[in-house]
């Protein structure tokens, strides 16, 4: 395959219980693009992701990965091409040790032991988890689990990475580390998330899903600037675009009234209040 294009055309999916999770989804993602798929809970993000490597069959519509349309014959090749990182790393790490887990994909591809060793070492090195290789997964921290989960996919040398909520449940430092990692990848990346600040940093393009339909598809900044669209899809601007919580006019109204200091001052109350106001002015920038 020369170009790793992901093309979804008029995709529709109805669950057996009659829920129409995807109604009409079409988009085309080019090689090397980093695209976010955002939407409220139940918008159809997860269902869409499960179609990208053929886990769920489309009720109607087509999916093309590279030169292959997704079908039973191309399934194995497509699953190698599309590396899927699930939201809960406990679902992804099922082998006794990190090494076994990262080697699971290459072993299924039938590679030689030497090549497998190489793949595992490279993948672990890529996510800075070399020292974890002999640990069992339940001894890892949340951030470590997430990075190893990504390594389990990298070891299969995918061209396209699909990540479901990569920053969910991580502490700020682990989140930063993961974002720096994802930023460095040259793969085509498809990321779903509610962490819109991460989307803003990692994805140049954003697709907004709402009730199983594509509501918008365009440059991330443009979409996050469109407040009517975001509100209609039950979303909000990322925090970094909402202005300073201390000095924006809306925020000042929400701030608690200046409290008297804990130790009652001997001076007059009036003066104290003025001092607090002055503080706010100082913060303004």
């Amino acid at each position: 395959m020369s170009h790793h294009i992901v093309e979804v055309k008029q995709l529709r999916h109805v669950y057996p219980d009659g829920t129409e999770a995807l109604r009409d989804v079409s988009f085309r993602i080019h090689h090397g693009e980093s695209v976010a798929i955002i939407g409220a809970n139940g918008a159809g993000k997860s269902t869409l992701l499960l179609h990208l490597n053929g886990y769920l069959p489309a009720t109607s519509g087509t999916i093309r990965i590279g030169d292959h349309p997704l079908s039973k014959e191309t399934l194995n090749e497509i699953r190698r091409t599309v590396g899927m990182v699930f939201q809960d790393p406990d679902d992804q790490l099922f082998m006794p040790t990190v090494f076994d887990d990262v080697a699971f994909g290459p072993l299924n591809q039938g590679l030689t032991p030497a090549l497998i060793e190489q793949r595992v070492t490279d993948a672990l090195e890529r996510v800075e988890a070399r020292e974890l290789r002999n640990k069992p997964p339940y001894h890892l921290s949340g951030g470590e689990k997430k990075r190893v989960a990504i390594a389990t996919v990298l070891s299969m040398l995918p061209e396209i990475l699909v990540l479901d909520e990569p920053t969910a449940g991580l502490d700020p430092r682990a989140r930063r580390q993961l974002m720096a990692l994802l930023q460095d990848f040259h793969h085509t990346r498809i990321i779903t998330s509610h962490d819109l600040d991460m989307v803003l940093e990692l994805c140049e393009r954003t697709i907004v899903l709402h009730q199983g339909m594509v509501m918008a598809d365009g440059p991330t900044l443009e979409i996050f600037g469109n407040e009517t669209l975001l509100a209609a899809c039950h979303l909000e601007k990322p925090f970094s675009m909402q202005g300073c919580p201390v000095c924006s006019p809306k925020a000042i109204r929400r701030l608690p009234k200046p409290q008297p200091p804990l130790v009652p001052p001997h001076g007059d109350r009036q003066h104290d209040h003025a001092h607090h106001l002055h503080d706010h002015d100082h913060h303004d920038h």
């Binding site: 899927m84 699930f86 299924n108 001894h139």
Partner: protein, 268 residues
């Protein structure tokens, strides 16, 4: 549930012990599994009134404990967990078997008491050997060894998955139990009625997780066959370990050493 969480399934520590470095840890898992099997067969095959003849067998777990540098107190606590179960098994022996087979001065000991005690000692010995085996080998390595020794692969994979997800499941069960406990205001009586739905809920969650795991396996090219990495080779040291201990066990089994020692001391 929370108590179970803390005591029975405290496997994590066993697992950490298995990652230590020592001569026993370095032995091939197959050697340790085989030796333990011989040990268990020998102990279990004793007659039902045997007691003293089994005592020399405690040498094996104690030797591994020392060589493997394991915390004796922790292992002992794990082993003692089996006592109630063993007592349950032997509970009715003294009632049914009232034949006096041992006379201690004026005190006649019924055969039932002897066989009950014998069951407890057997349970302690075999449990000790099994737990020490896990502590010096690690559960996954034991599964691989069993498979290499001829156990069907399906069972090995089942055991591995069981071991991997027992941690996740006990965490989940612990959380559910805690949530119930916090809202039942210290009221323990209403337990049974609520445990049904609680367990059902846990089962459904497990089911869903199994589906997600399967999904993750498919996504990485799983086609129904588990490919395991082959590792380690059976060296001379391993052969020596198996043969040496097995020979000792068989000798212990055939000759009643405590009795021989007693006769020697009493000069008869």
């Amino acid at each position: 549930m929370l108590a179970i969480d803390g005591t029975l399934f405290d496997f994590k520590r066993l697992d950490l012990l298995a990652m230590r470095e020592s001569a026993v840890h370095r032995l091939d898992p197959r050697a340790k599994v085989l030796t333990t099997l011989v040990f268990i067969v020998c102990v279990v095959s004793f007659g039902r009134y045997e007691l003293a003849a089994m005592l020399p067998f405690c040498l094996f777990p104690i030797a591994l404990l020392a060589l493997g540098d394991l915390p004796a107190g922790y292992i002992a606590r794990k082993v003692l967990v089996v006592i109630p179960f063993a007592v349950m098994v032997g509970l009715f022996n003294p009632l049914f078997d009232r034949q006096v087979i041992l006379q201690l001065g004026p005190l006649g000991i019924w055969g039932g008491w002897l066989s009950c005690l014998s069951i407890v000692v057997r349970a302690l010995l075999t449990a000790a050997a099994a737990i020490v085996l896990v502590a010096v080998t690690g559960f996954p390595a034991i599964c691989v060894a069993l498979e290499q020794l001829g156990m069907p692969r399906v069972f090995a994979v089942q055991l591995l998955f069981l071991y991997r997800y027992i941690f996740v499941l006990t965490d989940e069960g612990g959380r559910v139990a805690r949530a119930r406990q916090l809202r039942s205001c210290g009221n323990k009586g209403m337990g049974l009625r609520h445990f049904g739905p609680l367990l059902g809920h846990l089962l459904l969650r497990t089911w869903e997780r199994a589906e997600r795991i399967h999904m993750a396996m498919l996504a990485r090219g799983f086609t129904g066959e588990m490919h395991a990495r082959r590792r380690g080779r059976f060296g001379a040291g391993d052969v020596l370990f198996v043969l040496g201990w097995s020979a000792l066990f068989v000798t212990f089994r055939l000759y009643n050493f405590p009795q021989l020692l007693g006769m020697l001391l009493l000069g008869s």
